[in-house]
């Protein structure tokens, strides 16, 4: 008699055994929060903050893969360090640009930044 294994949408054992999928899903959630902020926010500083959130979500992925796939190579961790460095440079430059635009336009509303539009 063939036994039908019930299709479980949510497997409790899988939920309680932390694997790469958990970290990838968490990072996808965080990335989407950041993406939503980038798309839907009006304040330019807020858009920069949300880009930071997205970069951090990528870091979670890199470190999770570093632990679970190549634990002794440290490639993911080293790339995460590079991502952190580039993110720090990016936020510094971005804030400087926002301050410079604010001097000219007295606004940080992204809809007002239409200097290149014709």
């Amino acid at each position: 008699m063939p036994t039908l294994t019930p299709v479980k949408l949510i497997d409790p054992v899988a939920l309680l055994t932390i694997g790469p999928a958990h970290y990838v899903i968490l990072s996808a959630v965080l990335f989407c929060i950041g993406l939503f902020g980038v798309l839907a926010k009006r304040n330019a500083v807020m858009v920069l903050i949300c880009i930071e959130l997205m970069l951090n979500a990528v870091n979670i992925n890199l470190v999770a893969f570093s632990k679970y796939v190549t634990p002794t190579d440290f490639i993911g961790q080293i790339f995460a360090i590079f991502v952190i460095t580039v993110a720090a440079a990016e936020v510094g430059l971005g804030l400087a640009i926002i301050i410079a635009i604010y001097r000219n336009k007295v606004s940080v509303n992204l809809d007002d930044f239409d200097l290149l539009k014709w």
Binding site: L16, I18, G34, R42, I81, V108
Partner: protein, 190 residues
């Protein structure tokens, strides 16, 4: 059958109680504070929740055996980046900070796109068969990272150092206060 599954669940729960608890606690902290970053009306409060989010992420790195990265995360993100963003907000602040973080007109379109991306990512991540390595992360992570950074990855390391210097100088140049009468050339041009 049901007893077997129940026993399995209890075993899975007891075997890694602390790591599972830590992961879900930190995930909750990160997601809730990330949502609050986007949803707060006052942008200064957003940055405060951003610091909470970054510290939660440092804890998540600790659960992933990346202690050096956790320290870097607290130093660079929770320390430097948050302070820098707050300083910039103070420079460009307006009369009332209460409504300093508005949404624009494409909230619903953005929510749709984001829901689609999230659904696809979650579906694919849950379906994928991961090739998990049997090896463990070494106890000491700082020494292998330092050795790799200064041997195999020495060129990216130096390039990133130059990039930081360029970004620093560029940010100073861009954000420098332009005075029309201080600089003769600029004054004549005006």
């Amino acid at each position: 059958m049901i007893d077997l599954i129940g026993q399995e669940i209890i075993d899975a729960f007891l075997n890694n109680f602390w790591s599972v608890g830590a992961f879900y606690t930190l995930a909750l902290v990160i997601v809730v504070s990330g949502l609050l970053v986007v949803l707060m009306k006052n942008i200064v409060h957003s940055v405060l929740w951003l610091a909470v989010c970054f510290i939660g992420m440092a804890g998540l790195f600790l659960t992933l055996d990346a202690d050096f990265l956790a320290a870097v995360q607290v130093l660079v993100y929770a320390g430097a980046v948050c302070i820098m963003v707050v300083l910039a907000i103070m420079v460009i602040r307006r009369a009332d900070m209460k409504l300093s973080n508005p949404f624009n007109t494409q909230v619903y379109a953005a929510a749709g796109v984001v829901a689609l991306v999230l659904a696809v990512c979650t579906f694919l991540a849950a379906r994928t068969q991961w090739l998990v390595s049997r090896a463990r992360v070494p106890e000491n992570t700082v020494e292998p990272i330092a050795t790799l950074l200064l041997s195999k990855y020495v060129i990216p390391f130096e390039v990133v150092a130059v990039l930081l210097l360029v970004a620093l100088i560029g940010a100073l140049l861009i954000a420098r206060e332009v005075k029309a009468d201080a600089d003769t050339d600029a004054g004549q041009a005006d």
